[in-house]
Symmetry: C2
């Protein structure tokens, strides 16, 4: 039996690749209001692809924002049901000038496809669809019931996903969720995730006057950039610990076993340095960089701007300055708790000569961790072990996937993660790419996962 679906995957690989390139050509940038039509076009593309794979009841779920896509195959009554999750929206492509090829004209070079969304996550999105198609075409059935939920707002923090889950509780009811939004390490070094960190973000706007002033007024006019750099610097100490009061209060302490697990899963720092050009490491000295990136919360300034930023000189004292900050959260922190603590810090550290306004950024998400002994998680471990011949390391996701916390809360289901993105593939950055070998291996992994889950659940 196994040979049949394997043969199908092999025989149809050229078509699957063309489909991937097709999907990558759609600039479905969810954060840009002008691209809303493109995000919808991607939704319709995905719906058509689900139908072609043999899914039924395929439809767009309107959200008030970008639509989600639903599809199902429920031909195994009495068997368990898995809900497959992914997203078809992508990050903005700027700065455009740093791309070797235009971000929405996918280029295949030496076994890699370069495009915005290649690794995050249009490649991953196709894997479970192709896996179901292969099984239906060769075996006429799936080993268990499968539902698909793809959203178009993941990169803006899934603002309508909660309502979609709540309004479609019955439709989306499942025994376990499989998120395709993630990685599995490399074939040489497979990994399974326990879950992502959470997220909360704020934009800080400081204003010191009604209008920009000539910098000759310096000493008399006050400067909001000075207030901003002082405020931002007050949020961490000289060694990189976050100094916002209470920030670490609800962080679960790491056990020695967990620290050993993180150490075992960690890539050599030299490897990260080589693939990113990172000049050095810095942060809470009590923790290793990989502990800091997975089991510790962070506070990052994602953007800062104010005053004259063009070429040459403009001797100006601006009247406003801005920064965007986001925190990655870990159990048992919550977005509301940390938001409140950040706001208190910002208000307490804004000098009297500046006015502050604080905007909540979209994308708040709870941190999530699956219990490592959950049957679905153990099934995933078996699949990766068989696929790669190696026992996968257990790891924690550095990033944020809001859906897991939401699905746990609304549908009561735990989530396992299977995708093929690798950490050097420039997610969210110029020259994002996906290895085509991963694309093919991921299709096999999903077929195997469906069988393992059918046995395990």
């Amino acid at each position: 039996m196994a040979e049949e679906w394997m043969g199908y995957l092999e025989a149809n690989q050229p078509r699957f690749r063309e489909e991937l390139l097709d999907l990558l050509r759609i600039p479905s940038v969810s954060t840009d209001p002008e691209m809303a039509g493109e995000v919808r076009r991607a939704a319709e593309w995905v719906a058509a692809r689900l139908r072609r794979a043999g899914m039924t009841d395929v439809r767009l779920l309107e959200t008030g924002g970008h639509p989600a896509v639903y599809g199902e195959w429920l031909g195994a009554p009495g068997r368990p049901t898995v809900l497959v999750y992914g997203h078809f929206d992508v990050q903005p492509a700027d700065p455009l000038h740093l791309w070797t090829h235009p971000p929405f004209e996918p280029a295949v070079v030496e076994g890699r496809v370069y495009a915005r969304g290649a690794t995050d996550m249009k490649g991953n999105l196709l894997l479970p669809i192709i896996a179901c198609e292969a099984l239906l075409q060769t075996e006429g059935r799936l080993p268990l019931n499968v539902k698909f939920l793809f959203e178009g707002e993941e990169e803006i923090g899934s603002p309508h996903l909660g309502p979609v889950l709540e309004q479609n509780r019955d439709l989306l009811a499942c025994d376990v969720m499989v998120s395709a939004d993630g990685g599995m390490g490399t074939p040489e070094r497979p990994e399974v995730w326990l879950g992502p960190r959470g997220l909360v973000g704020l934009q800080i706007n400081l204003r010191t006057a009604d209008r920009d002033l000539h910098s000759g007024n310096g000493g008399l006019a006050v400067n909001p950039i000075h207030a901003l750099v002082r405020l931002l610097d007050s949020m961490r100490d000289a060694e990189g610990r976050v100094t916002v009061a209470g920030f670490y209060d609800r962080v679960r302490p790491l056990t020695p076993a967990e620290r050993a697990e993180i150490a075992a899963a960690a890539l050599p720092l030299e490897e990260f340095r080589r693939t990113t050009g990172t000049r050095g490491f810095f942060g809470e000295p009590e923790y290793t960089p990989y502990e800091r990136a997975s089991a510790r919360p962070t506070l990052e300034v994602n953007g800062i701007w104010g005053g004259f930023t063009g070429p040459g000189v403009k001797t100006v004292i601006p009247c406003e300055a801005h920064a965007k900050i986001t925190c990655r959260l870990v159990p048992d922190q919550s977005p509301a708790e940390i938001r409140e603590k950040l706001v208190a810090h910002i208000l307490a550290h804004t000098p009297a000569y500046a006015e502050v306004s604080i905007e909540h950024l979209p994308g708040e998400a709870d941190p999530y961790l699956i219990p490592p002994d959950h049957p679905a998680q153990r099934a995933l471990v078996r699949v990766l072990t068989r696929l790669t011949g190696r026992e996968p390391r257990v790891t924690r996701g550095f990033g944020t996937v809001p859906v897991m916390g939401l699905v746990k809360r609304v549908l009561g289901a735990e989530t396992i993660t299977l995708g093929v993105g690798q950490s050097d593939e420039r997610a969210h950055a110029p020259d994002e790419f996906l290895r085509l070998a991963s694309f093919e291996r991921g299709q096999q992994a999903f077929v195997m996962l469906l069988a393992e889950l059918a046995r395990a659940l």
Copy 2:
């Protein structure tokens, strides 16, 4: 006699205003390479205007950058010679959306002309030209020899002015210089300047990796914005003193008499607050805001940028971050000395995880102060006293006019300053304007100044 030139000014005021609007329509933004043709067009406009006023030997002085303009009237052999200085270039107009009227389509509203360059300093530039025209048309001669030197690079720090002075020592030789680039307070509260502050500026570029990274890597990836805010914040203490080692070493201490002079010349802070919307005051607590702005050096961040600055969220850790800083200098600081101290501070405060590169910004200038008892300065005081019926306060310029330090060094001449800009006229900011009453009063002031200088020198 006085009535004759007064009558001429009155009769021709409509034409002079049209000329001012004509000149304001030329977008002579010297910092923008694409506007080079417009800066040259302004130079040619000024040259034509000098010829029309009766100047001889009018010509463009090529500099390798934007041209300067020379003209002269040397019909008073044996009498002293004054060199009139000004500039016909302007600041960039961005941010454009904050302008009520387009910046290069001058709008006359309620006795004010709104346009980029109105107060800084196309209005001022016309004053001495019109004054000479009025005298030549009504009296057939000037009371002393006059030379004009207008440059097109003041707003980018006069990079070619030194060479122009050096290459034209004989042509520009003079007994005293009159800079039209400045103000005279208000009619109710006239002021004379002793001289401007100096300037030195640097751009700081920090890099932590080869490319931007997903902020999910936070804790592992390092953030250049964190390094930049810490570095910038390290340059001043909690009360606003500059902490760069040796920064104040060469600052001349203020005498009690000078402090009294500054206090007497200072506008009420409430007035500054009202006209600028400034929310508060902050800086070296040992000095008043007006002392800080005139007799103390400053270190201002004029611009900062890094990471994602668009609408919405982009969860990125950027690989680079930038800031532009300028210092206003006072006697006896020098640009080279302060530049060296800033560079040492930046290198010492850049963390090991970031690479720094430092660019020198154009516009370095020495601070300058004219001796208050210089005969030309006393002549200026007499003119303002007669014109306004009030004794002018003695004040120090907040801003920078590089020409004064250069002229002192190359031509050996001191400089007095007469212009009509007022501090609320939004130099360098959106909705810059000039009061038309000032424009007319300034023409009279220049006629009177020529006569006073002829007697005094």
